[in-house]
């Protein structure tokens, strides 16, 4: 309780207007430094990596949506429009920090070094998928890259991130957790539980809230009546900052500071990135049902990748020719990976019962044995084409 308590003698209600959360903004719409804005310290190598990973993900997303339409994978979900929110934030962290994400942060995984083949392995549920073909496409995870396997159930990772960070603190390593979620997920009870616990148990965790205007079809006006998510942090006693999520430098600068704060103070920090989900919610969704293309166009003009590119061009760190080459190269890399990895077989049927427990108990072993002898009776019916999820059965409406 640090706020100075003052006293009034007549009822006066405190209102939403009594708290203003400013927005950190460094680059203007054209990618020029705004006046009064400070360019954060960022070296060329980091800037190049950030830019390239954003460009990579834009292409991956485009290709995968197309591949989904062709029936080559059952489901996909893009990060389009939010690349700066994701790459700008992850770039402020160390590779030994744990990432606990929602599902729209494939750009952070890329930043950590996930290869095209690795993306494909998961998306295609083949034998090299770290998740052994158990989860729907986009539910990535990588122990090696300190990227926690994604769960579809919204917001569950938030209290988990607090606990993870608490463990990091006790272990004495200079490591923290970065936890991503959307403004929609922030309505779940787990958000409240996680943020309050993180604050009261002094956990070094940075919560990056992607406020992208929508939760599937639900606009923020039907998600909350407050001024976004950052003000909630003040209620928990958490240092909070709001940034222009399409401004790579703003996101990066805030994230670098947020990590520092989290580790110095052993405390959670909130970074709210204001952006827009430019694409559909997922390949199962059609946004024309609930929003106008005029609205989308406004945001398409604020493209974070283009804005960063202009800044890079200005700096002399990048050229149009390089850009052209890079994109062609990524396209090829991704399509090659798709082609090669979709030829791979499914995981082994024996994986059906592993990892439920550390060791499969007797009843599961029996169920598995029974299954195998059943399959033996109908060898043509099961595992007919073991490396393919049966996409026909996948519903179109599916989130």
């Amino acid at each position: 309780m640090t706020a100075k308590a003052n006293v009034i003698g007549v009822p006066r209600f405190t209102e939403i207007t009594d708290l203003t959360i400013p927005t950190l903004s460094i680059l203007d719409a054209e990618g020029k430094l705004r006046k009064d804005a400070h360019e954060p310290l960022i070296n060329k190598a980091t800037a190049m990596k950030i830019y390239q990973d954003m460009a990579y993900i834009r292409i991956l997303d485009e290709r995968m949506v197309a591949a989904q339409r062709q029936g080559r994978l059952s489901f996909y979900l893009t990060c389009t429009g939010e690349e700066a929110s994701v790459v700008g934030s992850i770039a402020g962290f160390k590779s030994h920090d744990m990432v606990m994400s929602q599902y729209r942060e494939q750009a952070a995984l890329r930043y950590r070094g996930f290869s095209s083949e690795q993306f494909m392995n998961q998306l295609l549920s083949n034998d090299l998928d770290f998740g052994k073909g158990r989860q729907m496409p986009i539910h990535y995870g990588s122990r090696e890259l300190n990227y926690m396997t994604i769960s579809s159930t919204l917001a569950t990772q938030i209290p988990q991130a607090a606990g993870y960070a608490y463990g990091q603190k006790l272990s004495g390593k200079d490591a923290c957790t970065i936890c991503y979620f959307g403004e929609g997920a922030a309505s779940e009870g787990d958000f409240h539980a996680g943020l309050n616990m993180a604050a009261v148990s002094n956990c070094p965790v940075v919560f990056v809230v992607r406020n992208n205007g929508y939760a599937i079809s639900t606009p923020t006006s039907e998600q909350f009546s407050g001024d976004g998510i950052a003000p909630r942090g003040i209620g928990y006693g958490i240092s909070s900052i709001r940034v222009d999520g399409n401004d790579i430098l703003a996101v990066y600068a805030a994230s670098v500071e947020a990590r520092k704060l989290a580790l110095e103070k052993n405390a959670p920090v909130i970074v709210e990135t204001m952006s827009y989900r430019l694409g559909a919610h997922s390949t199962s969704d059609d946004p024309t049902n609930y929003r106008s293309s005029a609205e989308e166009d406004v945001w398409r003009k604020k493209d974070p990748i283009l804005r960063m590119k202009n800044w890079m061009l200005d700096k002399g760190w990048w050229s149009d020719q390089q850009d052209h080459q890079l994109k062609a190269q990524y396209k090829k890399e991704i399509l090659d990976a798709l082609k090669s990895q979709e030829k791979r077989p499914s995981p082994s049927i024996s994986e059906l019962i592993t990892d439920v427990y550390k060791t499969p108990p007797a009843h599961l072993q029996k169920q598995y044995k029974d299954l195998l002898s059943h399959i033996d009776k109908y060898p043509d019916h099961y595992l007919p084409n073991p490396n393919k999820v049966d996409h026909q059965t996948a519903l179109t409406q599916f989130n």
Binding site: M136, H139, A155, E188, I349, D390, T393, N399
Partner: protein, 325 residues
């Protein structure tokens, strides 16, 4: 009568309920203008206004808690949980609150006007979190009713009965057959009474019992068995809590054999309850052990969903096993 699918039948039931009773209110994630991710609430906001059909924030515990209050106040709340896999954040509100609301108050207050609709089940390449069949959790909860339709006709009639039932109802919709299951459904208002199983096919040799999407596997297996000369009596339980013991007992006393099938994992699944009750009631009639054909005791997998699920071939094998015991 028009031919519509199960999803349209759900929509028609909601439309009918809202038209016939001002107090009916629909709420849930994305159910407003968008009409729900499956479109079960399509056009309802347009017809009945934003106050009676609206999007909620993403908070299942909030949706159910809010709906309980709404029902306690005298409204008729029809809440959608986007996927049955996401009903668990609302578990406390359902199990500790809705189920016990009337009892704990000595019938001073009730939330009987509450119905929770939610799509459940596998078969759509949904993996762990878009495939679960959590009905058994709710069947262990006195105070709740649990209803699962398997046809379009049932969907409308049972949903209308659920909405108007004086007790809170969890209504699971078999999403795998939302569109595939098509049948004649009256435009008019009608109800199918809760608590009564439907004997869909008469038979003398073995009783097959199931609910929801699994009924189709049972029917298909029964057809295969018929070619072997085995006459299956196929029963659709429809209401799981309270369930129609009498009808099942009568059937098993006749056939001497019972197979129960559900998609949910075997251990602790509702087939266990049925088997336990039937061996108690029909001990001397039973000619072979009651067989459960169910999902495996693992989380719901993606690539091996076909192998995991209790399909007609597994039911068929169980029929032979039961008859040849």
């Amino acid at each position: 009568m028009p031919q519509i699918n199960l999803l349209q039948a759900v929509n028609s039931a909601l439309d009918t309920a809202m038209a016939s009773d001002q107090r009916v209110i629909c709420l849930g994630e994305d159910i407003g203008e968008f009409g729900g991710v499956f479109r079960a609430t399509s056009k309802l906001q347009e017809k009945y206004g934003k106050q009676r059909c609206f999007n909620t924030p993403i908070t299942e515990q909030g949706i159910v808690g809010f709906s309980i209050g709404l029902a306690a106040q005298g409204s008729v709340a029809v809440a959608e949980i986007q996927f049955a896999d996401y009903i668990f954040p609302a578990f406390d509100q359902i199990v500790n609150e809705a189920a016990k609301f009337r009892y704990r108050s000595g019938d001073q207050f009730s939330c009987g006007g509450l119905t929770i609709r939610t799509p459940y089940g596998g078969g759509i390449a949904g993996g762990l979190y878009h495939s679960q069949s959590p009905e058994a959790y709710f069947c262990h909860t006195p105070g709740l009713k649990v209803v699962i339709p398997s046809t379009a006709y049932q969907a409308k009639g049972l949903l209308l009965a659920s909405i108007r039932d004086p007790d809170p109802v969890i209504f699971f919709e078999p999403k795998a057959i939302y569109r595939a299951e098509v049948g004649e459904v009256p435009d008019q208002d009608y109800e199918i009474p809760l608590g009564i199983a439907e004997v869909v096919t008469r038979g003398t040799d073995v009783t097959l019992l199931g609910w929801g999407a699994q009924m189709h596997q049972l029917h298909r297996a029964a057809k295969m068995a018929l070619e072997d000369g085995i006459q299956c009596e196929v029963i659709d339980l429809r209401t799981l809590l309270p369930w129609d013991l009498e009808t099942i007992v009568a059937s098993v006393n006749k056939t001497g054999r019972l197979i129960v099938s559900h998609e949910a994992p075997r251990t602790g699944g509702f087939a266990g309850e049925i088997a336990a009750a039937i061996q108690e009631e029909c001990f001397l009639s039973l000619e072979s052990p009651i067989i459960r054909v169910t999902g495996m005791d693992t989380p719901f997998p993606l690539v091996f969903e076909k192998e995991y699920l209790p399909d007609y071939l597994k039911v068929y094998e169980a029929i032979k096993q039961s008859v040849n015991f």
